[in-house]
């Protein structure tokens, strides 16, 4: 059992803990079932799904960097129909909300994926408008507020599920993007996706990744992510799921203080696959030590006075 002091409602979904398994780092959840109890995870955000299967990028796909990881998987996935037929039934055996991360190469494709996944067993959609790896489309949607808004509108029109929009940090003004997708109807925000980076092998004198550039994740990007959550939290009223290099309970608290109602753990799953379990235990201990308070009480406490706007935060839920 997870202590009720960790529970949170976000975009209409009830999570037992604020710890979500981040898309692309946790497969479809079942890969980790021998190492952690999926029933005690806040939510599973599954590997990004497209309308048709995608083989991903050629060549080397990951490269370690100091306190970080560069990846250029290229959104390899079996397609949303395969997911519905073969994977979702297995995940539904667990008592955990499923967030389907989706992407497309056009507004129409986003809409079609959303419609296909508008089924029982999928609890919410997370739109990936920010993956920097796919040459066509992906980057443009995430960096232009109008394009981002049009994707959100198209997805909203084609689903009954809450819609979370995952924003790219590779922009000058993250707040402009956040406001645009909020106005377009997004029910929540995920902040942040990976930062565009690259690595060159000095022996071969060539880029290391097959895709040349990749997304940087891990503790190396945490300060950037915390800063963006802090900025956006002051300017939007929809809830924020914070992510970017979370590896310890202190990291979770930092994101919540900056205004995140929930968080996602990503890269840490790849090198320490029991991270979600150990963080859950650590947060429970923290709540007990802090006179048994409810973890949601700290959300936004680091924000400047008077700038907190969290209409989704209801005291009676605590």
């Amino acid at each position: 059992m997870v202590a009720s002091s960790l529970a949170v409602d976000i975009a209409g979904i009830h999570l037992k803990t604020p710890l979500i398994a981040a898309s692309g780092t946790f497969g479809f959840g079942t890969e980790f079932a021998e190492l952690i109890d999926l029933n005690q995870v806040g939510a599973l955000c599954v590997k990004g799904l497209s309308l048709t299967p995608c083989a991903g990028n050629e060549g080397q796909r990951v490269a370690p960097t100091p306190s970080g990881l560069l990846n250029a998987i290229g959104l390899e996935n079996p397609g949303c129909n395969y997911f519905l037929e073969h994977i979702l039934p297995k995940i539904r055996a667990y008592d955990v909300p499923v967030i389907a991360n989706i992407y497309g190469h056009s507004v129409e494709e986003y809409a079609a994926v959303a419609q296909t996944l508008d089924v029982a067993g999928v609890h919410a959609l997370e739109i990936n408008i920010s993956c920097p790896n796919v040459k066509q489309g992906g980057l443009a949607f995430g960096t232009d507020p109008r394009m981002a808004a049009s994707v959100v509108q198209a997805v909203k029109k084609n689903t009954h599920k809450p819609v979370i929009t995952k924003l790219s940090p590779n922009v000058t003004d993250i707040v402009a993007l956040a406001r645009a997708v909020e106005e377009a109807g997004s029910d929540a925000l995920s902040l942040i996706n990976t930062l565009l980076g690259m690595k060159i092998d000095v022996h071969t004198r060539k880029p290391v990744l097959g895709n040349i550039v990749g997304g940087l994740s891990g503790p190396a990007i945490r300060p950037v992510a915390v800063r963006m959550v802090y900025q956006v939290a002051q300017q939007v009223s929809i809830p924020i799921i914070g992510m970017g290099g979370i590896a310890t309970a202190e990291d979770v608290l930092e994101f919540m203080l900056a205004g995140a109602s929930a968080v996602a753990v990503g890269t840490a799953n790849l090198y320490q696959p029991d991270t979600l379990r150990t963080l859950t235990q650590a947060l429970q201990t923290y709540c007990l030590r802090e006179k048994n308070f409810h973890l949601q009480e700290i959300v936004g406490q680091a924000l400047p006075q008077g700038k907190q706007s969290m209409p989704y935060f209801h005291k009676e839920q605590l």
């Binding site: 890969e31 100091p66 090198y271």
Partner: protein, 255 residues
Amino acid sequence: MPKVLEESPVLLQQALDERTYLLRLKAAQIARQVKPGQFVHIKQIGDGTSLLRHPFGVARADKTQGTVDIIYRVVGEFTRTLCTLTSADCLSLLGPLGRGFDLSVGGKALLVGGGTGLAPLLFLASHLGPDKTDVLMGGRTKDELFWQALYRPFVHHMFMTTDDGSLGTPGTVMALLPSLLCKGYERVYVCGPSPMMQAAAHACETHHIECQVSLERYMACGLGACLSCTCKGREKRLKVCTDGPVFWSREVSAW
């Protein structure tokens, strides 16, 4: 067969040659379960800078003692750190991971390897037994074939090739393999550099002998989740960490 995370004390660090070491770790749960061809995914505890785990094929496991041996060559940052570890140190082990070698072989088996590819094959040799198992090992010089001493208890014949001809047949393993394939082997297992595995697999196909290879790719989670290590197969994309690392050569199309 559940995968486990174990905090594993270093028990033994033994130099096998100038840059190859045997590391013995206490990992009782993994030792009990691990099969030849499977790997352990290793991380230094408390290192916040170098995040990723590193996969190593198991070279020996002792169920009674609860120990797992890996044999590694110092080639990069992580292995440079590994060779400084002493019995005061601990590593985090995740395992056993992956699909190991198919052990259902009735007749004679030939193991073909080079470099640290000979480590997982050593574990396989100890399982198959000396009556029906031969090994063909290749190295640049005779010094690289210190493996003879390790293999001697587990195999019947040992065949050697060296690039410089300082021991055995001059050339790569391919200088000897085609003639060996006429000697009635039912199965060939190969682990070594990609060109060696591809050439050996091709030769086996020509002789209609079943062949298993153990692939190596850059890997992150080791659990089949991140898709860092996938490659093109003849029928479907292959996850090296969970569909492999051992494959039938007929499954592989991207060496």
